[in-house]
Symmetry: D2
Subunit: 345 residues, 4 copies
């Protein structure tokens, strides 16, 4: 049994880790920390966990965490950055679900996250945990930076095109939409049901923290700089991200070949599902599941490739991918604990 610690367990990614780990046969949650809720039984905050966990939230304690095999950080940015060195020294492995170790350019990180990075050496050593790109490195990694939700949906959707150099990398557009759980569980008037129910809007259209992460990942795939416009939107639902991606073919292409390219690129991936050409993936088809489903489209004789890509932001976009990374790191079946179909309807 892998001994698990979770730092910062009161948010939606924390409870989602617990939901998944509750039935994971090879992992056992030893502690879950929360400064604000220390002492409260986990199941009092999250009644779906009644009968599954006797744990209570505890104050973060390095000594306790150091006895874990793996620690997940489900904290706001800035926390993991400070706690990681001690855990690394103790030989503990870490999957950080926050943004602390996602970017390699720490000036960019400092600009978007409003503070200097305090452990730059670990930022460089961290492996960006997108299994479809970096499975081998993840296997060896002591510190994995779990990708952001939007970046997961956007990168998986664009990757085959960029890796093959088929599109103009300077003209990428990602129009993405997310359910409200992406904003976390915080005292935020703007996320009240009365404010966002039965309404739709763009947000962060002039710039969002996930833009540099997306750009970093796409540049690696394209082996060169990319120009990407990324606009997130808020959908009046709880879970799910859909990203509609637009790219311009460098030269006229056979769309059958593009479809084959996508199917081939992901044919061994347990969690990427390329649907038939012209399908419309629904976020509900991945609700609670770790899949990324996608489909390609073309309009009349246009040379614009359209990709629609969906994930559950809390699963493949956060806790599920984190457990997938754990499975890889510990040599388990990569789908362990992640086999159940999505909850539809």
């Amino acid at each position: 049994m892998i001994k698990i610690g979770i730092v910062g367990g009161t948010g939606y990614t924390g409870v989602e880790l617990l939901r998944i780990l509750a039935v994971h046969p090879d992992a056992e949650v030893k502690c879950i920390t929360s400064r604000s809720e220390a002492g409260m039984p986990v199941a009092d905050m999250y009644p779906n966990l009644r009968g599954h966990f006797d744990l209570a939230f505890s104050e973060p304690d390095s000594a306790v965490l150091a006895q874990c095999d793996l620690v997940f950080f489900a904290t706001p940015h800035g926390v993991a950055m400070r706690m990681v060195p001690e855990l690394m020294a103790a030989g503990v492995r870490v999957v950080d679900l926050s943004a602390d170790f996602r970017l390699k350019d720490l000036d960019v990180w400092a600009k978007w996250y409003g503070m200097p990075h305090e452990t730059p050496e670990w930022a460089q050593k961290a492996v960006y945990g997108l299994p479809e790109v970096a499975r081998d490195a993840i296997r060896q990694a002591q510190l994995v930076a779990n990708p952001g939700c939007y970046p997961t949906a956007v990168q998986l959707g664009f990757l085959p095109l960029l890796e093959q150099g088929l599109v103009d990398p300077s003209r990428l557009i990602a129009d993405a939409k997310s359910g409200a759980s992406g904003a976390g569980r915080q005292r935020n008037i703007g996320m009240l049901h009365g404010e966002i129910g039965e309404s739709f809007k763009a947000y962060g259209a002039s710039g969002h923290r996930h833009l540099p992460e997306i750009r970093q990942g796409l540049s690696l795939a394209a082996t060169g700089p990319v120009g990407v416009t990324f606009v997130p939107h808020l959908v009046p639902m709880i879970r799910g991200i859909e990203a509609t991606l637009y790219a311009e073919l460098s030269e006229p292409a056979d769309f059958d070949r593009l479809q084959a390219l996508y199917e081939d690129r992901y044919k061994t991936e347990p969690f990427v599902d390329v649907m038939p050409f012209g399908s419309h993936p629904e976020t509900r088809s991945v609700r609670g599941g770790n899949q990324c489903r996608m489909a390609l489209h073309r309009q009349e004789q246009s040379n614009v490739v359209i990709v629609s890509s969906v994930i559950d932001n809390l699963v493949k976009g956060a806790a599920g991918q984190a457990v997938q990374n754990m499975n890889i790191m510990f040599g388990l079946d990569e789908t362990q604990g992640l086999k159940a179909p999505a909850l539809l309807p």
Copy 2:
């Protein structure tokens, strides 16, 4: 492996059976029938099942069904009634999720379902499959009538009071609320998102088919006639039932004792969770899970007992309870395939 057949698999209870059975270690779905969609791969209709089932819907075929160990009926009323005798003769066991075998008084059945019952002898032999009441009979049964969704939430909430004779059985009120999936997946203008989204209403307030089923179950518990008023309501959500139950204490009672009574009544039940006195169970705490959670309330010095009881109408109210019944019938761990926590948020 238990060989499973599902008759009528295109509705929400059908897909829910598949979702649960997809990860059930002891059951294998051999066939799933649909006259209207015969030939269509199941995963084309329900993309959450892509990668889980290669099955296509098939025409109902008695010979094929007769080779199953267990057949689930997820059909409109009137279908199982006609097909059951042949399966019984073939030694197949059946869990009928429709209403065909739930009522013992077939005049009442005929009145509410608008047709005469065609196999009255099987209606009498069928075991009403509420495990918390009839576990032993279910274990032996060849034919189990899976309870309705509202009747499950209402009966479990009232049972301890009636079994102990603590309340006036002539003055029971059940005000119940359900998500839209309870109406099934049918060509029904009244269930369009544009019609029921962002709105709330009572329906069937002058009489609903689940009323006689509730009355039958409560009368058995009370060992005598009961007077129950039952009003269902439609909530703009997909899954979940909440029933708020009102009963008048026959004599002044100690509410601490009532709480203890409930906890005691259900302490060995794997799927009934009595929350602390004064709690407010949320339907999301059982979304996708097979639990029934409930809590007791009292207002000032009133002698009205208030019980709030929640289930997922598609799980404990349909497919989950059906699998629970299957587990009992085949001597498996009763929670097999039903262990995952509910999906919250």
Copy 3:
């Protein structure tokens, strides 16, 4: 033009007053106060008001309010109580949408609102502003206590039965359901979309502040004490209340006569719509409108009368009823500014 002041305009009842008054031909909003947002243009907070109001929120200023003809309080409880005497002295009329002047028994008030009442003489002088009961007193009143949202739906639904003494007044049950806007616009994790979307629950089942207000109103109608059980629930929608009411007939009654009684009781009421017997009022049928729609039901030969009553909690349950009261107080057409049909779909 009636010169209007609004104290506490940042909440949902404040913006709703503005929405209604924006097109009221006889009223002009002169000031709207908010300590926290002083200086912010109203339309910056509520973009639906762009082009309708140039006003900015201002610090509450007695001198400015004293120049108004009418001041609406849309504040948390405890505020109007303290400011009203000065306005009364200045001859200003007040409609208080908060709970400060709704209860006559100030011990009860103090118990439920957690503070002593500071202006008991005004609590006694205030007219409880349910026009269907107290129109003449409202016309003369200087201080009107605008009813709570649940109490409006519940009282209007029960009134004819109690006024005529047809039901057992000791056995009233009101099972009520509200959209999320009823909880106001506050920094409240429990009201996040991620917490309450796609879920349903009871709350305040052991006791809610609207219970004593309901009891007071129903006792007046019954001219004697009543026993009422009131359980509110939270619906994943923004606007709307539905109350399902249960009462036991004192003697067998002709339901045709009950229907006629309701129709007769409300036939001259511009905002109460008694639908045909057996109808199911939908909250969307009153969304944004000032109507209360209701319908009667009976189950089989039961002697329980069932009434389903719907309102928009922000309109007939708050700002609309406040404007209705203003219209009455100033001798205007009672429907002025409230004539538009509800927004359906």
Copy 4:
């Protein structure tokens, strides 16, 4: 009083016309037709209209329609096309909310609507009723083709850029999202609450009927061919469209100047609201109102102009724009009947 006829009144645009006209001081609805519901009182289908209309649906009758001053068609495509010539001959003016007269290229029309156009001469004479572009022509028109919902949001958002030739017209992208009412009120399993609630998806991504209408309008603005990619999406809400538009500046531009350009273009428009640069228009800010609100965005030093544009699909995207057109045609104040603020929250 303008005498109004409505053909095809049972759908969402029909009821929305009634909702608006119910309080329009200069219009009186004389008849509303529906073959399927002839004889049913309008208020029985749409209870929000109880007390507003005594009308019942009637069989379409040319003689009755011929006595109207204006007939609105709220029918599926193919109906108005056949009925218009007779009304034209009778001197009746028509606003057609269907797609019959929107396109000038009737081969394109035939391709997308699956039938030949039967009255091509009227297709040429019809005025495309986007008041912000064709107010003078509308004033004189006998036949107005009311624009589609998406085309309204998309055209208004792109117009200033194209009219001024500031962007590459071959690289326009419109990623649009709509609530469910856009699909109408039809017996459609795919639009059940159980199917689309709590989910998000693209649809028509390989081609949608509104694409040629958008292309036609944008080409006129650009005075030349345009290349536009248009992908619609379905949002789990009832009303509202948001379109996020992407265009590439032909040469580096000053975004302050772009903002001024938009403000200037629409400064006299009563129903177009250009919000401050960097704002995020919410669909709720126009719910039930006739506004189109929009805002501009730029990401870092990108030369992509981003425009977010919102409307209520049933108002500015259908019935409200139709009434705006009526007001123009009959020389009324253009905002008559359309003055109320949107319903927020």
